[in-house]
């Protein structure tokens, strides 16, 4: 303990330079005084450490000849397995599945972004153009409830609707067409994925954009009205530019997740008949890495996935910062 004199000079060991010493002592004093703040941080950080940082050690499985039965538990097994360098990566990239899985991932996400990204913006704008409050509330409510349904439920609903005995197929048969096996059809399955994701999530995204629209400065609209702008002009020149920051934020987040969106959806909705069009990186990791216990391959692919996603989101954010001055942190 040392006394704080009126001029706040602190004495310390003679070997440290004066200013550094001052900063160090100040920090230490702050931490002592506000100990409870640091105490508060402990639980969150504890869990973060266990569930996000410790698994990083598990990445070494991708570089080892992992034998899960060594030692008393998997982590000891990791430590006791031998290093094999990039062997697993070679196996991964040389295999026929890799390109297929990668292209499925990219194609499906591409479809989803192209078809589903603009829609919530349009629906949000349309909702604001609806005058009747009751109708507006009703429609808004209807479209965003499906967000809260799990994929199991959505799968159940559409399986009922589109299955062999569902009304769609019955209707097709009545007009003389063959029934369509939506869930096992190569050409239709991706469309099904996009459609069901839209059905589930467009409402939620619409509400986000609606909230953003309400935060656009109303005086802009008043000024436009005074200038005699039509509704259409107002939309083009005020609403859409006003939504730009939100749109960019959502887009960056979408890009960052490009390599694992839709994983749970696809896992629940797919089946062996459509593996070749719908198997994405994460489902492959799940099936091969964990299901078939090819842990090293699964880890290698997972690492590849994480790296690319990381690069994508950093680049998208940097691009946005450079071009538009907006960043997510």
């Amino acid at each position: 303990m040392f006394k704080i004199t009126g001029c706040q000079h602190k004495r310390g060991t003679a070997s440290l330079p004066g200013t550094q010493q001052l900063i160090f002592r100040k920090s230490f004093l702050y931490m002592k005084e506000n100990g409870s703040l640091y105490l508060m941080l402990i639980p969150g950080f504890f869990f973060l450490f266990i569930y996000k940082f410790i698994p990083l050690y598990g990445i070494s499985i991708a570089f080892k000849d992992f034998n899960i039965f060594l030692g008393n538990n998997p982590f000891q097994a990791i430590a006791q397995s031998d290093w094999v360098g990039f062997d697993h990566f070679q196996r991964l990239f040389a295999g026929s599945q890799f390109l297929k899985v990668l292209s499925n991932t990219l194609i499906i996400n591409f479809y989803k972004i192209i078809f589903l990204f603009p829609l919530p913006v349009i629906t949000a704008i349309m909702l604001t153009e609806i005058m009747n409050k009751a109708y507006k509330k009703a429609m808004q409510t209807l479209i965003y409830i499906p967000y809260f349904f799990s994929w199991s439920i959505v799968f159940g609903i559409f399986y009922s609707l589109l299955g062999s005995y569902g009304p769609v197929n019955i209707g097709l048969k009545e007009v003389g067409l063959d029934s369509v096996m939506f869930f096992s059809d190569h050409k239709l399955f991706r469309g099904l994925l996009v459609f069901t994701e839209g059905w589930k999530e467009i409402g939620w995204n619409t509400v986000i954009y609606l909230a953003a629209i309400t935060s656009i400065d109303p005086t802009l609209f008043e000024a436009a009205w005074v200038d005699g702008a039509t509704k259409f002009q107002k939309i083009i020149h005020i609403t859409i530019p006003g939504l730009f920051p939100t749109i960019i934020l959502m887009l960056i987040m979408k890009i960052g997740h490009i390599l694992d969106t839709g994983f749970e959806q696809i896992l629940i909705m797919y089946n062996p008949a459509v593996y070749d069009v719908a198997d994405v990186i994460q489902t492959y990791v799940y099936r091969m890495g964990l299901g078939q216990m090819d842990f090293s391959l699964g880890t290698a692919l997972g690492l590849f996935n994480s790296l690319i996603a990381f690069i994508l989101i950093i680049s998208a954010n940097a691009a946005s910062r450079k071009l538009l001055g907006r960043s997510i942190w």
Binding site: Y51, G256, I314
Partner: protein
């Protein structure tokens, strides 16, 4: 937006057209959202013969309650629902405790080491080890087939913590200052002052966590093995695929009105009910919370 509607004048045909188009398209959207749900609702309550002959479209034909009571009494539905409830309620409470206690210190600009913590949290949002390493961690900790495995990996979602932190940063410092002068310590300030002021964001983030826990399928699939531990989502998935086997086991005369499709539909409908019941609460807090969230950026 009421401002907009007050000023709106239908002074050209384009205005009317846009409005009309909006009404029609949103009407279609609403119907598209509703119709599939009506369909499963109807199938769940229609008689087996109507269902299998494909005559059920959007309204129940020959209504019956047998399918629903079958699901409730003779399957693991209620147990699965209980499991999901335990995970969701327990998880959300724990998550909110951990999230709020993390967000509060980090919302103080003067905290030493704040940048370090934030970097760690944000980094872990962007880069993660992957499914296999996460599985190894759970296995090593001996948590396979426990509720803990379903709660702990999700206990803190960094994005949610950042939302709470941002909100707290926007709260006026004067109230905290005066409390400090009165001698209040940090814990007291957090729970007696900051939390009551943060009710909207707490409600919204609780909802986000709750939805996450309730709907999660992957962790239940990966980490549970005993039938008694299945969560609702897993139960639904299994039932969809095993409905036919269930029917075969039911070859008694009680089962006249239970059909394969009926079982699937009834399971789905029963699972939707809790969500619909929660809906007024969701409506109240969520839309308000999202507005706040988007204003904060």
């Amino acid at each position: 937006m009421s401002n907009d509607s007050e000023l709106m004048k239908y002074n050209d045909r384009g205005e009317k057209a846009i409005s009309l188009v909006s009404y029609i398209i949103m009407g279609i959207a609403g119907l598209l959202a509703l119709a599939p749900c009506m369909h499963v609702l109807s199938k769940a309550f229609s008689s087996a013969s109507m269902v299998t002959s494909g005559q059920v479209t959007f309204f129940p034909r020959q209504p019956q309650m047998e399918t629903v009571s079958f699901i409730l009494t003779e399957t693991m539905f209620l147990e699965s629902l209980m499991n999901t409830l335990i995970v969701t309620v327990g998880g959300t409470i724990l998550s909110m405790l951990v999230t709020v206690t993390t967000a509060y210190p980090l919302s103080k600009p003067k905290l030493k080491g704040r940048k370090l913590f934030l970097i760690l949290y944000i980094f872990s949002m962007l880069f993660y080890g992957g499914m296999v390493p996460a599985y190894m961690v759970i296995k090593t900790l001996g948590l396979m087939d426990t509720y803990a495995a379903l709660i702990l990996p999700f206990i803190i979602i960094q994005f949610n913590m950042l939302i709470v932190k941002n909100y707290m940063e926007g709260l006026p410092e004067s109230i905290e200052e005066s409390a400090k002068i009165d001698g209040a310590r940090h814990f007291r300030i957090l729970f007696s002052i900051i939390c009551p002021m943060s009710v909207p964001v707490i409600a919204t983030v609780s909802l986000l966590y709750a939805v996450n826990y309730w709907n999660n399928y992957l962790h239940a699939m990966l980490y549970t093995s005993s039938p008694g531990k299945k969560t609702l989502q897993l139960f639904i998935y299994d039932t969809i695929y095993s409905a036919e086997t269930m029917i075969e086991k039911l070859m008694t005369s009680e089962a006249t009105n239970v059909s394969v499709e009926g079982i699937r539909s009834a399971t789905v409908v029963l699972s939707i009910i809790p969500i619909v019941l929660m809906y007024p609460g969701i409506q109240r807090f969520f839309v308000q919370g999202i507005t706040i969230g988007s204003v904060k950026g």
